[in-house]
Structures are given as structure tokens and as C-alpha cells.
């Protein structure tokens, strides 16, 4: 039992995690590239043309994975934020704040691709659909966490304040989602729904899943790379970071 615990927390030390993440980043990045190539090939070349929406639907292979990732990353951020807050674990807090920009980017991409998709299919860039609206509010929540973290000088204090805000956000997200959905149905009755149910072509579904995996690998690579920078920045006083920092200096 005791030995297992030590193993579990072995990589909780920033120095060890720095080298582990350094080894993992190229793998994740390569996987992301390969999966993205496969997914895009399947989505753009193999998958059949939609009988109703034509070729425009193909943005789904970027849109749906980013939308999923935006929500998943918020949960991941809140999870690590909570771990950091409860156990006073530095690395968990660093991980949480490293996830936030990627989550915000995914949310923004989901909104952007949604707008690009909406124009040819619905004839408008933006609909106050329940999903679009709650995705927009999710973006605001990400921005709130990031700007609160940026506004506080002391990094540990910033971590903990941002963690609390992320947790408050997690409690609020379902309330916001259901209120927006209800508001939407009240306003415009049966509105355009993005979901097409399970009648989707298997090739489409598979390429969507491959693209989701690709985005997942991308998120791992980017978050780990970002965590490495945060670790170096915060631990710059300690001896082990010196060779790493020297390597970063311009020659």
C-alpha cells in the first residue's frame, strides 16, 4: 500500500513531471499529426456527401471535436484545480491553468466553425440556439478564469483563486445549460437542432471520432508543453532548472 502511494505521487514533483512531460510531448504531437491526417482524409475524401447539406457539412469533423473538447477541458481544468486547492498540490494547479488557454481556444474554434457551418446551412452566421449560447457563456467562463489568474501577482494565490472560480463555474454550468435551453425553447419553439441523432453514416462517425482523438492528443501535447514552461518559470530559483533555462537563452 505504502509503496503504491509513493509511485502514484512520484510525478507530482514538478522536476520529475518536467522531464516526463518533455519525453511525452513529441509522442503526443506526432500522434496528433497522424490522427489528424487520417481523420481529415476519411472526412474530406472518403465520407459520402450529405444529401441535404452537400459538402458544407464536412466542417463537422472540426466543429464537433472542438465542441466536445471545450467541455471536456473545462471539466479537466476544474478537476485539477480542485485537486490543487484541496491537497495544496502545486503541479495540479499548474496543470489546471495550463489547460485553460487550450480550452478557451477549443471553445472559440467550436463557435467559429459553427458560424462557418451555419452560414451555408441555416443562412445565418449566428443563431441564439441553446448550444451556441451556452458555448458562448463557456467561453466567457474560460476568459474569467484566465483573467483572474492574470490579475493576481502571487502565482500560488492566483492558482487558488482561479481554482475556486473554476469550481464555482462547474457547479453553474449545468444550471446555465438547462436555463439557456429552456429559454430558447420558450422563445422560438422548435428551433434548428444541430443533433442529427444516430442516423449518421458510420464513416462520418468514425472520422469524427478519429478527429476527436487527434484533438485530444493535440491538447495533451500543448498542455504538457505549456506546463513545462510554467514549471520552469516558477522554479527558476532552484538549481535543477538552470541548464534548461540556459538552453532557452539566445546564443
Amino acid at each position: 500500500m505504502g509503496a503504491q502511494r509513493i509511485n502514484w505521487f512520484h510525478f507530482a514533483a514538478p522536476q520529475r513531471f518536467h522531464s516526463l512531460a518533455g519525453r511525452a510531448v513529441p509522442w503526443f504531437a506526432a500522434l496528433a499529426g497522424v490522427l489528424c491526417a487520417v481523420g481529415l482524409f476519411m472526412g474530406l475524401a472518403v465520407a459520402p456527401t450529405d444529401y441535404k447539406q452537400g459538402e458544407a457539412y464536412r466542417i463537422i469533423f472540426v466543429h464537433v471535436p472542438t465542441a466536445w473538447m471545450s467541455m471536456l477541458l473545462y471539466l479537466a481544468m476544474a478537476f485539477w484545480a480542485a485537486i490543487g486547492l484541496i491537497f495544496n498540490a502545486r503541479l495540479a494547479s499548474m496543470l489546471a491553468i495550463a489547460i485553460a488557454p487550450s480550452g478557451a481556444l477549443m471553445t472559440f474554434l467550436a463557435l467559429w466553425t459553427g458560424a462557418l457551418w451555419g452560414k451555408p446551412t441555416w443562412g445565418t452566421w449566428w443563431v441564439w440556439d441553446a448550444r451556441l449560447t451556452s458555448e458562448l457563456i463557456l467561453l466567457f467562463l474560460y476568459v474569467g478564469v484566465l483573467s483572474l489568474h492574470a490579475a493576481i501577482e502571487d502565482p500560488r494565490r492566483a492558482d487558488r483563486a482561479a481554482a475556486l472560480l473554476a469550481i464555482v463555474g462547474v457547479v453553474n454550468v449545468p444550471i446555465i445549460y438547462f436555463s439557456v435551453r429552456w429559454w430558447n425553447t420558450l422563445h422560438q419553439g422548435a428551433s434548428i437542432s444541430i443533433s442529427k441523432g444516430s442516423t449518421i453514416d458510420p464513416v462520418m462517425l468514425n472520422s469524427m471520432l478519429v478527429m476527436t482523438l487527434a484533438f485530444w492528443m493535440y491538447a495533451f501535447a500543448v498542455v504538457f508543453a505549456r506546463v513545462r514552461s510554467i514549471i520552469l518559470e516558477r522554479e527558476r530559483g532552484s538549481a535543477w532548472t538552470r541548464p534548461h533555462l540556459r538552453a532557452l537563452e539566445p546564443a
Binding site: 483573467s147 483572474l148 490579475a151 483563486a161 475556486l164 472560480l165 464555482v168 444550471i175 436555463s179 439557456v180
Partner: protein, 232 residues
């Protein structure tokens, strides 16, 4: 630090005196308190100037405009909720006191609501008349505000506690709190719209009440924790 049990009479003395002190401070700075109310009136009055005097349009927009204006106006006075106590050291004494911090925070939030939310509530029928809302709709609006504005003070209190001692706290606070209170806006304005559409508005008010109960239960704890983080 030995925590006093909530049953201890001295706890309630502390909570009451803090509540009365905050009220007294707000009354002595009438200009600050009134500024938020005047802001509320001005924002709501700008909308007809912006969208035109068409009464049908205004009647449809009225509840939403009054609610949005109330949201913005209650954000105005929030930065002061803890900032002054932080500057003169009162906040540290609150944190050190044996009285449970969430209760003290709740007292401050209640005082804040009495000085901001209640004032907006009193002014809202006047604004509703500007938007030509019928008397029954005004009644629903006031009821919805009565249930909704305390949530603004409670959730806003978390934001105020998180931004204590932060530069640019006022803008940041707005950024943090406004997305979180979207449900209040939806159900608050929705109640009046449902009433105008001839549907029942009870569901909206019940949901507002549920939000109030939830916020009343959770936000003093969250705000107390945020204060402890801020003054770590």
C-alpha cells in the same frame, strides 16, 4: 483560533452588529448608494432612445431591459463590498474572529442587497411604466426582482471576494460574475414574458426561488473561502 458554535449568542451579536454597521455605512454614503440606482434608471432610459419610441417594441423589450440594467447596476456597488474592509484591516479581524466567517459574509451580503437590490426593486415599477408594461406585468416583474436580486448579491459576493486587493477589480469582477448570473436573467425576464404571453409564470418564479436557495446555501461558503485565499 477557536471557532464559536453557531448556537452561541455572541455569534449572532457579531453578525447583527456587522449587518447594522454595513447598513449605517451605506446610509452615511448616500451618494455611492444612490449612484447605482441612478445608473439603473439611466441605462434603462437609454434603450428607448437607442431603438426608437415604438411602444409595441418597448413593451416586448421592457422586462429584459429592466433586468439587464439591474444586473449592471448591482455590479457597480459590488467592488466596495469587501474592498474598504480590506484596506482598513477590518477584513483581517473578520477572518481572525471566532465567529464563523460564512455567517459574517452572509451579513455583509444581506446588507449589500438591502442597499442595492431593494433600491432597484423600488425603482423598477417606474421604469416598467416607461416601457408601458401593464400593472399585472409590473407586479410579476417586482416579484421576480425580489427573488432574483438577492442571488445577484450572493453570487456577486463570491466575485467581490475573489477580486479583493486585485488591480482593476471592478472590471474583472463584472467579467467573472455576469456569465454566472445568466440563469437569473433568463428566468427573471422570462417570468414577465410568460405572464404577458398568457402562460403561467409560477415555474419561472419557482426556479428563481430554487436559485436563491442554492446561492444562499453555497455562496457564503465560497466567498468565505475566496477571502481566505485573498488574505493568505
Amino acid at each position: 483560533m477557536s471557532a464559536a458554535a453557531p448556537g452561541d449568542p455572541s455569534v449572532w451579536t457579531a453578525v447583527r452588529s456587522l449587518f447594522l454597521r454595513d447598513l449605517r455605512l451605506a446610509l452615511r454614503r448616500r451618494a455611492d448608494t444612490l449612484a447605482a440606482a441612478i445608473f439603473f434608471v439611466i441605462v434603462a432610459s437609454l434603450f428607448p432612445l437607442g431603438v426608437g419610441p415604438d411602444l409595441d417594441l418597448l413593451r416586448r423589450m421592457g422586462p429584459g431591459v429592466v433586468w439587464v440594467a439591474a444586473l449592471l447596476a448591482s455590479m457597480l456597488s459590488l467592488p466596495r463590498l469587501f474592498a474598504e474592509d480590506h484596506q482598513d484591516g477590518t477584513l483581517e479581524q473578520m477572518l481572525l474572529s471566532p465567529c464563523p466567517l460564512p455567517l459574517l459574509v452572509l451579513a455583509k451580503m444581506a446588507a449589500h442587497w438591502l442597499c442595492s437590490g431593494l433600491l432597484l426593486l423600488a425603482l423598477s415599477p417606474l421604469l416598467a411604466l416607461q416601457f408601458d408594461l401593464p400593472a399585472s406585468a409590473i407586479g410579476v416583474l417586482v416579484l421576480a426582482l425580489l427573488l432574483g436580486t438577492p442571488v445577484l448579491s450572493l453570487v456577486g459576493g463570491i466575485g467581490a471576494a475573489l477580486t479583493v486587493g486585485v488591480r482593476g477589480a471592478a472590471v474583472l469582477l463584472t467579467l467573472l460574475v455576469l456569465p454566472l448570473v445568466v440563469p437569473v436573467l433568463i428566468f427573471g425576464a422570462g417570468a414577465v414574458e410568460a405572464h404577458s404571453a398568457g402562460l403561467g409564470y409560477g415555474g419561472h418564479l419557482s426556479l428563481l426561488g430554487a436559485l436563491l436557495a442554492l446561492a444562499l446555501f453555497l455562496s457564503p461558503w465560497a466567498a468565505a473561502m475566496a477571502l481566505r485565499i485573498a488574505l493568505d
